[in-house]
Symmetry: C2
Subunit: 155 residues, 2 copies
DNA sequence: CTTGAAAGTGTCAGCTG
DNA sequence: CAGCTGACACTTTCAAG
């Protein structure tokens, strides 16, 4: 995908990354533009899939999801990577599924209530995915930073 | 932190996780409540830090950030974990910093333009953090799923 | 991109159970 | 305390320039 983004677009993205619920008029004030012009740009950014979605970051502790783990999953060498990936992606506790270079094939990020529910989830969901050979789990003791904001470099 | 969340709160969180820019009236319609009551609940959720922030997911490809990597960082055994973590967290390309169990001490998620800029960032930023003994980098070939939405279980 | 106007929304005070 | 109503100001959104 090639998209042309000018400095105004980048500034919009920067402001919206920091606060998705910023109002159009506030955006317009920051950019010294009319609200309608800003709205039009935002709509175009959505439509061009530059903006993928607006989400609310909920405190995991408030929902009793205290355990975070990364699981490396090794599978039989085969062409059907995509199918396995899709099955992993369907597990609700799984927040991320990456296909990675090296001998481990998949890296999965998982959030559960505690270690017991992690084990339950692995037995119930991950180990039932066909062609899974082995898993290697890394437990997170403490998260120091967790954000999806991208670095925006204006020209 | 212990917070009491009832089913209405959970429904608000579910709707806002999926779309942070949903309007108050739409929320109210979904919940069959008056907008003012919903607004009050949302404000309380923000204030109680159940809602941490509203962010916009920007397509990394649109900003030319095509490379995603996870780096395990081993450091000298010491008490000053927190200081190292803070230094890692300050690197703009670093989206996540976790302190993990096992012999690797830190796990860091990084997004850069390409492998050259990843190497540059490692030389310039990570290797300059004191007490870093070694790093082990896992390159992501393809991301199949990436979301931070939590599983919400209504009672 | 701007203006201007209509329709819709956020927000608050005051009221009710 | 949590929710409702009603009212006003502010926003969103669109057509036209």
């Amino acid at each position: 995908m090639v998209v042309e983004l000018d400095d105004i677009d980048l500034q919009i993205l920067e402001l919206m990354q920091a606060n998705a619920r910023i109002s159009n008029v506030d955006l317009a004030k920051e950019l010294s533009m009319a609200p309608s012009a800003v709205l039009e740009r935002v709509k175009k950014l959505e439509q061009k899939k530059v903006i993928l979605q607006y989400n609310t970051a909920v405190n995991p502790a408030a929902l009793n999801q205290r355990l975070l783990a990364f699981i490396f999953i090794k599978t039989k060498e085969l062409e059907s990577d995509a199918k396995i990936a899709t099955m992993l992606a369907r597990i609700p506790e799984v927040q991320e599924v990456h296909i990675v270079a090296g001998e481990d094939c998949f890296l999965v990020k998982v959030r559960t209530e505690d270690s017991a529910s992690l084990m339950a989830m692995m037995r119930k969901s991950i180990k039932r995915v066909p062609n899974v050979l082995s898993t290697k789990t890394t437990i997170v003791l403490e998260t120091v930073k967790e954000q999806q904001q991208l670095v925006i470099r204006k020209s």
